[in-house]
């Protein structure tokens, strides 16, 4: 598979996620969309990591696996982020009986 096709898939994933994050009203759906964006980014990193591997200095494992390491790192952070996000969703639902983001406008001017 060429690098371009992988980057196109990654870009599509990112944009679909972005659209969801900006347009959906359901908080949980927004969190899911953010996960899509993360995965678009992860796919880019892995694809670039693989593409750059032949150019990396021999016997320098870290240089070869930089993209992959980043992807694993982001997956971890995303797990933590989703745990926090769901906690906020619970707190919001307890207070307002709603998970609609447009209802959470108490911080307006």
């Amino acid at each position: 598979m060429s690098l371009e096709s992988m980057l196109v898939v990654a870009a599509v994933l990112f944009c679909v996620g972005l659209y969801g994050a900006l347009a959906r009203r359901n908080f949980i759906a927004v969190l899911m969309s953010i996960e899509l964006m993360f995965n678009g980014v992860n796919l880019t990193l892995v694809a670039m990591g693989r593409w750059l591997a032949p150019y990396a200095v021999q016997d320098a494992l870290s240089a070869v696996l930089t993209g992959q390491v980043f992807a694993v790192f982001i997956i971890t952070v995303a797990a933590a982020e989703i745990a926090l996000g769901l906690g906020i969703v619970f707190a919001m639902f307890r207070n307002t009986e709603s998970v609609d983001l447009t209802d959470a406008a108490a911080m307006r001017h």
Binding site: L18, A21, L22, A23, V30, L101, T102, A104, A105, A106, M107, R108, H109
Partner: protein, 679 residues
């Protein structure tokens, strides 16, 4: 031969006295206030002795050339230094300043006795004397300017010494502001010199060092540096002269001097005889080598001086306040000195400054003594004091005769020399100018004689007209507010010895100072002092100082006849009509008298028209409008803009959590698009 430290001591002793009185004696309270007087007298006494010693050794050929101490090195060719410039002018001025000041301090022990601010008075007096001594010693123009302004400051403090009197506070302010107008000229002259620093540096000179300025003004042909010449030289001189005119009360900046009479009388004596007003003449004398290179500047100095001499004397004719008469007399005599400097008679002018210091101090101390007895300064309420105060009477008459210039008193010799130089001309200005000066000064002699003896008659002759008590009574009847400084305390009798003693010393000086210091027409006095000693000594301070002309009997006769004519007129006007009571016969002069009594309406012009109309209504009104509308408007507009832009931007803060990333995403998009287009 004095060491440098001893010369500095002349200046530092009054400074120490000021600090001691201000820091220690005054805080200790009134019980030790007398000590302030003794400290000041001691400091000035030692200074006087040192000054005499300095003058004597310098006149005997000891060369005093101390290297100045660097203070600030502003630029190549412009260093501010603290130095001593010991030439004949400085040495004689030192003797005059410390001598007259010493007499005034002794006199003040009696005059200011019982004043609740006795210690403060002496602190100011020490500062005043110290500033004046610092001024005459200065070798650097910036050093000179520092003391010049200190003299202005201390005169402000002393004129407004009784600051609870509104008139004294106003007079102090007026003196300060009007002299400051002249000082702008002086400051501009210094700034001009500073900007010539490169030219000075190229010749190895210092643009702020006074002897270097002399060299710079002299043309190369005469051995000078020729740095400043032509129009620039004229403006430099006029700037210096503006400062001198402000301090010395020359027309049109003379109006502060009569008002300065609001201070205690010994202060007036000091201001008028030795310190403040002499500073202006001293400044022109100090820069005489510069002035004499510019004929235009000399002409301005000569004509303004001569005009002031006559102009001030006419105002003295119609003044009723004894101290104001003296004040106009001082302005007039300073006019003589300026005129003499202007026509190139450097040594005659300084000789007159020397003699004037003694007889004018004497006259002021006499006026203070009279006030001590009569409780007022208004001559219309005096009269007949001759019998009650014989010492004051005779000493005042001596002072007046000396002022008028009657042979052989001190004032005669110096005034005669000025007249003679004006008549013969010195080549410094056109003959027509010096002849015009001569005519004006001769008219001045007549007027001087008239107002002096008008003063003597109104004060001492005839019947006593009630003094301060009567004046307060009259004011009450007329429903006018009582003039300041008038008291019910009338006791006809001689003043205490603290006051008479210094007057006797000054009286003796007023008689002999002329022919002892500068014998004219004889070979020498007691075989000690050669003919024309003082004027030749002054001339030795200049490169091309010319010698005084030989004594002319014809000129002496002319000036004495004119003076006696003036005295005769005064006697005819005031002594002859026996019935004279409270109305001045001169009021029959009608409109002329009114104009003179109103001081040519110049005060009205300055205060009513220039300050009141032009300044308050135009300048102040415009700046006020500008401040209220433009400056405040800009401040207000800044706040208004911030407030409104803030509330506009606040609309974007809608609390919708998805709007913010939307904006961020669009922003990112814009950056990417721009990068693609431009990158």
């Amino acid at each position: 031969m004095l060491s440098e430290a001893l010369v500095w001591a002349i200046f530092l002793l009054p400074v120490a006295s000021f600090l001691l009185i201000g820091g220690v004696i005054r805080p200790l309270g009134p019980s030790v206030a007398k000590a302030a007087g003794y400290v000041t007298i001691l400091a000035l006494g030692v200074g006087f002795v040192l000054s005499l010693w300095l003058l004597r050794s310098h006149a005997h050929g000891v060369v005093y050339d101390f290297a100045p101490h660097l203070w600030l090195n502003l630029a190549p060719g412009a260093s501010v230094q603290m130095g001593l410039l010991l030439d004949p002018l400085t040495n004689v001025m030192l003797v005059v300043v410390t001598g007259v000041s010493l007499m005034v301090q002794i006199y003040s022990m009696g005059y200011m006795d019982g004043d609740e601010s006795f210690a403060r008075y002496y602190a100011y007096m020490s500062l005043f004397s110290a500033s004046m001594i610092g001024l005459v010693l200065a070798s650097n123009i910036v050093q000179m300017y520092v003391f010049w302004e200190l003299v202005g400051l201390s005169s402000y403090l002393l004129i407004g010494f009784w600051h609870d009197r509104p008139s004294a506070a106003a007079a102090a302010k007026k003196a300060f502001i009007i002299t400051r107008i002249g000082d702008v000229g002086f400051l501009l002259a210094i700034i001009f010199l500073f900007f010539q620093a490169d030219d000075f540096a190229a010749q190895g000179l210092n643009a702020l060092h006074i002897p270097d300025i002399w060299t710079a003004a002299a043309p190369i042909a005469a051995g000078g540096a020729g740095i400043v010449a032509g129009g620039a030289l004229l403006w430099l001189c006029l700037g210096l002269f503006a400062g001198a005119a402000g301090k010395s009360g020359q027309f049109p900046l003379h109006t502060w001097l009569p008002d300065a009479m609001e201070g205690p009388t010994p202060v007036s004596a000091l201001i008028h005889a030795a310190t403040m007003v002499a500073a202006g003449v001293f400044l022109v004398g100090r820069f005489f080598p510069v002035f004499s290179e510019s004929e235009g500047a000399m002409m301005v100095v000569a004509l303004i001086g001569a005009f002031t001499a006559v102009f001030a004397a006419t105002m003295g004719l119609a003044a009723n306040d004894i101290k104001r008469v003296m004040a106009y007399s001082t302005v007039s005599q300073l006019g003589y000195m300026m005129a003499a400097l202007g026509i190139g008679a450097y040594n005659a002018a300084l000789f007159h400054l020397f003699t004037h210091a003694f007889f004018k101090a004497l006259l002021f101390l006499g006026a203070g003594s009279v006030n001590h007895a009569a409780g007022t300064f208004n001559m219309m309420y005096m009269g007949g004091l001759r019998k009650a105060m014989p010492f004051t009477y005779w000493l005042t008459v001596i002072g007046a005769l000396s002022l008028v210039g009657i042979f052989p008193l001190a004032g005669f010799w110096s005034k005669d020399e000025i007249l003679l130089e004006a008549w013969l001309g010195t080549g410094a200005v056109e003959t027509s100018v010096s002849l015009l000066v001569f005519v004006l000064l001769l008219v001045g002699v007549l007027l001087t004689a008239f107002y002096s003896f008008r003063m003597v008659h109104l004060t001492f002759h005839g019947e006593f007209r009630g003094g301060g008590e009567q004046e307060l009574h009259d004011c009450e009847e007329a429903g006018q507010p009582a003039p300041t400084g008038v008291s019910h305390h009338v006791h006809l009798g001689e003043s205490p010895w603290w006051m008479v003693g210094p007057m006797v010393f000054l009286g003796i000086s007023a008689v002999i100072a002329g022919w002892v210091a500068n014998p004219i027409g004889v070979k020498s006095v007691f075989g000690l002092i050669p003919s024309h000693w003082l004027t030749d000594y002054f001339a030795s301070g200049l490169h091309d100082g010319h010698h005084a002309p030989p004594f002319s009997i014809a000129m002496a006769v002319i000036s004495n006849v004119v003076a006696l004519a003036g005295i005769g007129l005064a006697v005819l006007t005031y002594a002859w009509p026996r019935g004279f009571t409270n109305t001045d016969p001169l009021t029959r002069g009608g409109i002329i008298h009114a104009v003179l009594a109103q001081r040519y309406y110049l005060d009205h012009l300055y205060e009513g028209v220039i300050v009141g109309r032009v300044f308050y209504r135009v300048v102040a009104a415009v700046t006020d409008w500008f401040d209220r509308n433009i400056v405040d408007g800009i401040v207000g507009l800044t706040g208004w803009i911030s407030r409104n832009v803030g509330s506009l931007i606040a609309l974007a803060q809608n609390g919708q959590v998805q709007t913010y990333p939307l904006v961020a995403a669009l922003g990112g998009l814009v950056i990417i698009v721009l990068y693609l287009i431009l990158g």
